[in-house]
Symmetry: C2
């Protein structure tokens, strides 16, 4: 009703199907059920009603939002080092949808923050891969529609940074925070 | 897709119109634009597609979610004292939709928490009115549809606690947190 039309889009859709600007290299279940294999992916800022792709495809939706755990000093460090999406050389991408379990969501804010950063160094680990890995986080849990994941994270990096990206996801998956992840799919892509 | 059918509903609609189980006593703008006056309100756990009420009515939607600021010790205090909605004697209600400004949403988590509790004592003030005032908070900002408010808070209390409720809203509106509220409507109701 009173949304500002000049605001940048916050709601994004990730449509897996036969065609799209990103070619899918692999779809792998890390924890829990996988997603159907697709040939390509389209990322778009969506209007509310999203078309379902033809065939065996799928659509995941998520919304960017304010930060839930990042503190002021951390934001300063992040904003100093992070790169934007869409760099010409960043021809590799990953879409990593994640769901966290009920135990995570029943924790209080300070308990979640403690696991997220004090125990898991989620922000500090991410800083080690800036500016090589650009990232955008999308939230799905409060969209008001039944969504299969809680978060969709989109990453872009150059082929020469692929080994660094593998290290980043390996470190995060080994952290205490990941004990609360009950579904994770890792989709790797290259620009078509 | 994988929503648990046994989970309690999280998405609620507040439909203002000609009829409904709550009779509207007043609709007042506190800050910014008001809402059209209506005769009655219906609160319901909604499916995704929400009917628009006939006539000059309106529908507000919001979703319950995990806590954003409450810490473990505070949650313990809240859960020890709070009452459930739907008490037979709690025949008074208030629906207070609020929107916060861009400055609020651009703050980091620790800055928002500092304003919310260290400066404004939002949780501590609320505790003073438990169990008299029952409350349910709904989030609108990340629904993925343009919504006119960021939060909808629903309160229920007995007629004998009406003065206490006025004091509660007065204290919150006087707090530093409220400097970030750029739209607020106060809708008072009685059970029909």
């Amino acid at each position: 009703m009173s949304a500002n039309p000049s605001s940048p889009p916050r709601l994004f859709s990730f449509v897996g199907g036969a065609d799209g600007p990103w070619r899918v290299e692999s779809v792998q279940a890390v924890v829990g059920e996988s997603l159907p294999g697709v040939a390509a992916l389209t990322v778009s800022a969506t209007a509310q009603a999203e078309r379902q792709p033809a065939g065996a495809g799928w659509t995941l939706r998520g919304i960017t939002s304010h930060e839930r755990y990042v503190e002021r000093s951390e934001r300063l460090a992040l904003s100093t080092h992070q790169a934007a999406l869409g760099r010409p050389g960043a021809t590799c991408a990953a879409l990593i949808p994640i769901r966290k379990n009920a135990a995570w969501w029943s924790l209080s804010q300070d308990e979640r923050r403690d696991i997220f950063e004090a125990q898991s160094e989620h922000i500090r680990i991410g800083l080690d891969y800036l500016p090589a890995v650009a990232r955008r986080l999308h939230h799905c849990r409060d969209l008001g529609t039944p969504e299969p994941f809680d978060f969709l994270t989109w990453f872009e990096y150059a082929p020469g940074d692929a080994a660094a990206f593998e290290e980043l996801v390996r470190r995060l998956r080994g952290s205490p925070e990941w004990a609360y992840v009950d579904r994770e799919v890792d989709i790797r892509l290259v620009r078509a």
